[in-house]
């Protein structure tokens, strides 16, 4: 009996990680050339995607293997985007950094003195206003763009499915 012929080859396994490497390199290059962080992430992702799709279609494994390579790359690129985003927005990372850089262990009050809820809120409001996702008029805040609301609805749905609550603080009615 003949051994089954593989519908994929070694290149199919290597193309997505190579795409991710290109994504990372382009993104770092862009940031070091003073491109805003979000734009640098988009530029890196696009460069990696172009490489992945081109290399996958030039490879001899066919359309379905090429599509799978693109999906694998998209998953890896999504992870990298969030890795960069974690450093930018994650509270846990910032709290760990404050504890790490303090000369002695910190109390909760000590942590709050270095990184308070007010600072967290100020930064987020600045970002939301800068991206025009919200608007401010006479001290009142309004929704400007629905995109974040859609994301909020999707995450709320996932929260209800997996945790039975729509928030870590407020139980579902």
């Amino acid at each position: 009996m003949c051994a089954p012929v593989s519908s994929v080859n070694w290149q199919d396994l290597l193309i997505p990680p190579a795409g991710l490497a290109i994504n990372t390199a382009v993104q770092i290059l862009c940031v070091r050339r003073k491109t805003p962080l979000l734009k640098s992430v988009y530029a890196g992702f696009a460069a990696g995607l172009v490489f992945t799709v081109t290399a996958a279609f030039r490879n001899s494994s066919g359309l379905s293997a090429a599509l799978a390579d693109a999906v694998i790359y998209a998953g890896l690129g999504y992870c990298y985007f969030h890795f960069v985003n974690l450093g930018e927005t994650a509270r846990r990372i910032r709290i760990m950094r404050e504890i790490y850089e303090a000369p002695a262990p910190l109390t909760e009050e000590g942590i709050a003195a270095r990184y308070s809820a007010r600072e967290m809120l100020d930064k987020r409001l600045r970002r939301l206003l800068a991206n025009s996702q919200i608007a401010e008029k006479n001290g009142k805040l309004f929704i400007n763009r629905k995109s974040v609301l859609i994301m909020e609805r999707i995450l709320t749905l996932l929260k209800i499915i997996f945790t039975g609550r729509d928030s870590e603080h407020i139980p579902s009615q």
Binding site: R32, A74, R91, P105, E119, I143
Partner: protein
Amino acid sequence: MKTLIWGFAIFADGLLVQLLVWRFRRPQRQTKAMLLLMFGVALTAGLAFFLNPGGFSVFSVPSPQTPLETAHALSLTVSLILAWMITFSAVEADSPSLVIMRRIKEAGPAGLDKNDLYQYLNDELLLTPRIRDLITDKMAVETNGCYALTAKGARMTRLFIFWRKLFKLDKGG
């Protein structure tokens, strides 16, 4: 096409197992438990392919028959698992930006007073739960009300400090 179908199917199975386990009892260290479950499912599928070199079919979709096909399908699954791991962190904990959007939406056409937001989103809601997460995930330890990083927490913090310095960025958060 089988790489795509099997890659997604194994991930979907993992997701279903996670949902069933979470409905029964939510683990304390959710991300770690989720990864163990998901990779367990992927490993089981990999073993099933390996132990059936002649292949088998589910709903007329043939299984991967060669080690390369198996590796390609599992690469897709792993990429989806990692993407889900990142997304799940936003399901576990409330994102302050999304909470802001939700509060503004709830305020309706009159808009949300900025001061209400500062009163609602205080240290107790934004800071304390994240410090607790660090203890749960063994990133930090608490002794007599003082917090210090564990070796694991310090390693992670150094990685993010290095990455932020590479980008010439501030502390973030």
